[in-house]
């Protein structure tokens, strides 16, 4: 199979993202000094499945890398190397490289440095994997237990001892029919107290229809506490303790140990003795473990403090244009289509009866009821299809997490990224288009917003900068906020820079309001850094952000306070595929305006229109609103005989970020849900036109790009000296 197939890329990307998510989690845990072995195992599994996938699709490079990473993770699991900063760095590098390897590339493209990273991984293993001396004698556990421990289990057991925890043997007896549930419950319970190291078949068999298990639990609780907590009808707790304190493992504060790691036990005992000694009863726990995996994962996510979108079934994959769909949703859609088919059959039947002259009284009524039914089903179908397009925004938040990590190291600023609302769903298309703008914004926050640690200390702020990434639904829109607690923006300085960059003249600067000055950051070629660095400062950031957001019919607002930080809010429609539109007419041509850009529509007398230096304006609730005539902007020629009401005009007030402009049109034809269709390559870039749609009877109608029109209008108005000033929010 072909490694460039979208199927492979999609799946692989998902695995890489899972890997990266777990890695971030592990990093947080290693900082707090308490690495959860389950998390490490999950990380291992993600890479392992990636390796399998790569093998299946013959993706050699990815397979090789996955193999190496898997090896490293395995050694981490077995405690042969420590989860040091160095190891984490290499693993994160692997995440990036996986991403680079997944992008299909031509012959002349740069080949990602796979060899270099493989050598680094190799280096890790060697420096870390020294032959550890046996540092604890476990023989007191007895041959019965020792002989069945796997290398990994033994390592966990030692690890628990090193942390000074006690070991307990929990003997449990399960009804053979309910063993799945029983083990799950017990495991959940025990997890709260410590670590379940292994399940062992028990020697003493109580009854035919029961299975007995010994579970080795490592915990820091005392025997009494454990016993109280766990003992019930079929569960007994026994203490496992070494014969004398002298032979105990040297208790060492393990987790934060710096590299070079302490000599760790190279597994000498536990040579899996006669396989027959791990008999069938070993099986049920394994099966139980798989059954439990989902709930335990949820618990991990909750306890980790960071929203873990792992449970989200639908995943965003930027390289492949696929959406993973819950089968149940497809079933619903399928059913709907089936029902529509039935209705169609009924309608055909009715039609034939009517043609045959059967004008029975109830034919009309039946027809009406069928049509109504069909309309309802169609609406459901539309909703269902829309739902299928929806994906949680969490996936790009994960990517951003990585960006933050990388940048904070590059610029040596400590940053905490707080995420909320990762499960907010948006149209797949929007989610895809959002990742670049959000990345730019986060970069700006880190580079320009967050101060250096000493500067923060002087301002009395905690040394670590904080960036909040929030998503939430607000009415039928989604708001995404990026907020930092940095130095904020000084509008006077921005204004000064605007002059220096030649974006505004001295005169323009004079009349500028703080809001307008702040909005200069969205102008092309504006950068507050004197010299470009690798992170930002090439002056392409925020104007790209603005353009991209505007393309999604979104708006961006800035709120900033000097010394306190800045907040960028992006307001977006939930979907782009179907939008509500206001249908208008100008000089005999029909257009649609996305309703989410329309603030209000007002009817005015021609006499209310005044002029300021030739620019038409109208006063709405005490504020002066500049007017743009659509017919003039587009050079529309009215068809012969077209005579709009000469005394009445309609003004559609549209807004883009801070700017408000009134579009003058001849007629408002109503609101409608429209399906947006893209225009071909040739006319995709017509300024002011965002797409096309159909309004029944095969009538194609253009959809206005309000952002662009407002931009043009504002630019034009600035020429007349009627800038957005008084009309801002």
């Amino acid at each position: 199979m072909d490694p460039s197939s979208s199927e492979f890329i999609g799946e692989a990307q998902e695995s890489v993202e899972t890997f990266s998510r777990h890695l971030l989690e592990l990093e947080a845990q290693s900082r707090s000094g308490n690495v959860d072995p389950d998390r490490l195992n999950a990380t291992f599994r993600a890479v392992h499945s990636l390796k399998g996938l790569a093998g299946l699709f013959n993706a050699v490079e990815i397979g090789t890398l996955a193999h190496a990473v898997e090896g490293t993770l395995d050694r981490l699991r077995l405690g042969r190397i420590d989860l040091s900063k160095e190891v984490l760095d290499v693993l994160f590098e692997a995440v990036e490289l996986f991403g680079a390897l997944l992008i299909p590339r031509g012959d002349e493209d740069d080949i990602p440095d796979l060899i270099g990273l493989l050598e680094k991984i190799e280096g890790l293993s060697r420096s870390g994997g020294g032959e550890g001396a046996e540092d604890a004698n476990l023989e007191w556990l007895g041959e019965a237990i020792l002989s069945v421990l796997s290398e990994y289990e033994e390592h966990r057991l030692r690890e628990n001892l090193r942390k000074g925890r006690s070991l307990y043997r929990v003997h449990a007896s399960f009804d053979i029919l309910a063993i799945d549930v029983g083990i799950e419950q017990l495991k959940e319970k025990m997890k709260a107290y410590g670590e379940v190291i292994t399940y062992l078949p028990s020697a003493d068999i109580t009854a035919e229809d029961r299975i007995d298990l010994d579970i080795i639990l490592g915990t820091s609780l005392s025997f009494g506490d454990v016993s109280n907590a766990l003992t019930e009808v079929d569960v007994t707790v026994h203490r496992l303790s070494p014969p004398s304190a002298g032979e105990r493992a040297p208790s060492r504060p393990a987790p934060n140990a710096p590299p070079p790691p302490p000599p760790l036990p190279e597994p000498t005992p536990a040579p899996l003795t006669a396989p027959s000694s791990r008999p069938a009863p070993e099986r049920p726990p394994e099966r139980a473990a798989t059954l439990v995996s989902t709930p335990s994962q949820v618990i991990d996510g909750r306890s980790s403090g960071i929203v873990d979108p792992a449970e989200a079934e639908v995943s965003l994959r930027s390289l492949s244009q696929t959406v993973r769909v819950d089968l149940r949703r497809l079933d619903i859609l399928m059913n709907l289509v089936g029902e529509l088919g039935l209705i169609q059959a009924n309608l055909t039947d009715l039609q034939e009866r009517l043609r045959a002259g059967d004008v029975a009284a109830d034919a009309g009524r039946q027809l009406q009821s069928q049509v109504r039914d069909m309309a309802r089903k169609l609406a459901l179908l539309q909703q269902g299809i829309l739902d299928v397009r929806m994906v949680p925004i969490g996936q790009i938040f994960d990517k951003l997490h990585r960006v933050v990590r990388k940048l904070s190291r590059e610029l040596s600023k400590e940053i905490r990224l707080m995420i909320s609302g990762a499960d907010t769903v948006l149209d797949k298309l929007i989610v895809e288009e959002l990742s670049d703008p959000l990345m730019h914004m986060i970069r700006n926050c880190i580079d320009h917003g967050i101060e250096a640690a000493n500067e923060r200390a002087q301002a009395g702020k905690p040394p670590a900068g904080r960036i909040d990434l929030r998503a939430f639904q607000k009415g039928n829109r989604v708001v995404i906020e990026v907020e930092d607690d940095g130095r904020g923006m000084d509008w006077r300085r921005l204004r000064e820079l605007g002059i220096r960059r030649g974006l505004i003249t001295m005169d323009e600067a004079e009349g500028m309001s703080p809001t307008e000055a702040i909005n200069l950051i969205f102008a092309p070629g504006f950068s507050t850094r004197e010299e470009a660095n690798s992170v930002s400062g090439r002056g392409v950031g925020m104007d790209v952000v603005k353009t991209n957001i505007a393309k999604l019919s979104g708006m961006i607002d800035v709120h900033t306070e000097i010394g306190r930080g800045s907040r960028f809010s992006i307001t977006l429609p939930v979907t782009l595929a179907i939008i509500q539109a206001l249908v208008i007419e100008s000089a005999g041509h029909t257009f649609c305006i996305p309703l989410n850009a329309v603030l209000e529509s007002i009817m005015a007398e021609r006499g209310e229109v005044g002029t300021i230096e030739g620019q038409e304006v109208i006063t709405v609730r005490g504020k002066t609103l500049p007017l743009l005539r659509l017919s003039r902007l587009f050079g529309l020629r009215a068809p012969p005989g077209y005579r709009p009401d000469s005394n009445r005009i309609y003004v559609v007030v549209v807004g883009l970020a801070q700017h408000r402009v009134g579009l003058v049109v001849d007629e408002l034809l109503g609101q409608q849900d429209v399906v947006i269709k893209p225009l071909g390559k040739a006319i995709r870039n017509v300024p002011g036109i965002a797409g096309a749609t159909e309004l029944g009877a095969n009538r194609t109608v253009l959809l206005l790009d309000v952002a662009r029109l407002v931009d043009e209008g504002v630019r034009e108005l600035a020429g007349f000296g009627v800038g957005g000033g008084g009309h801002g929010r």
Binding site: F634, L636, G680, A682, I683, I689, N698, D711
Partner: protein, 190 residues
Amino acid sequence: MAAEGDDLWQALARSGEQVATDEDYEHGYKQREVRRDLRHYVSFRVGDEIYGLAIGEIEEITKQFPTTFVPRTADFLLGIGNVRGRIIPVVELARRLGLRSSGYDRAARVLIVTLDDEPYGLLVHEVLEVVRIPPEAMEERPGGISGRRAEYIRGLGRHRGALVIILNLAEVLDPKDFLRLRPGDEGGSW
């Protein structure tokens, strides 16, 4: 059984029938190759001239359908129309080629063509027929025609004495010609 092949040859020799030789095969093959070289073109009338497009470039031919005017585009773009759910830009070929652009009647057709996987419509006055033109009947475009128009022509073909101008679709539908920039838009700093 083993002698069957020999028997066949002997039987043929006796009956005096001729067996095809290698040269015969080669000859026949060559002749076929020349035939395959013939190319099919759809010929159509724009104004008073006859044009042609390779048959593979044309997806379908439809009657004229209503189009919607798109502001800020070149005047040869008639507008956009809807063909079975797809939005298609429709080019008035006569204007694009600088010819008389009136007189569309019931014979007028829209050729739906594909270029770089994107559909376009070409409005023509009349679709004539499918013609086969052997390569030896094709001419390079004459040097006399110069400028932009010359680039639209891939070659000149002769079919029963009539001249068929074969179009170069990539040039005729060059996307950068579709936009009409407003006077203030060039080099805009925004």
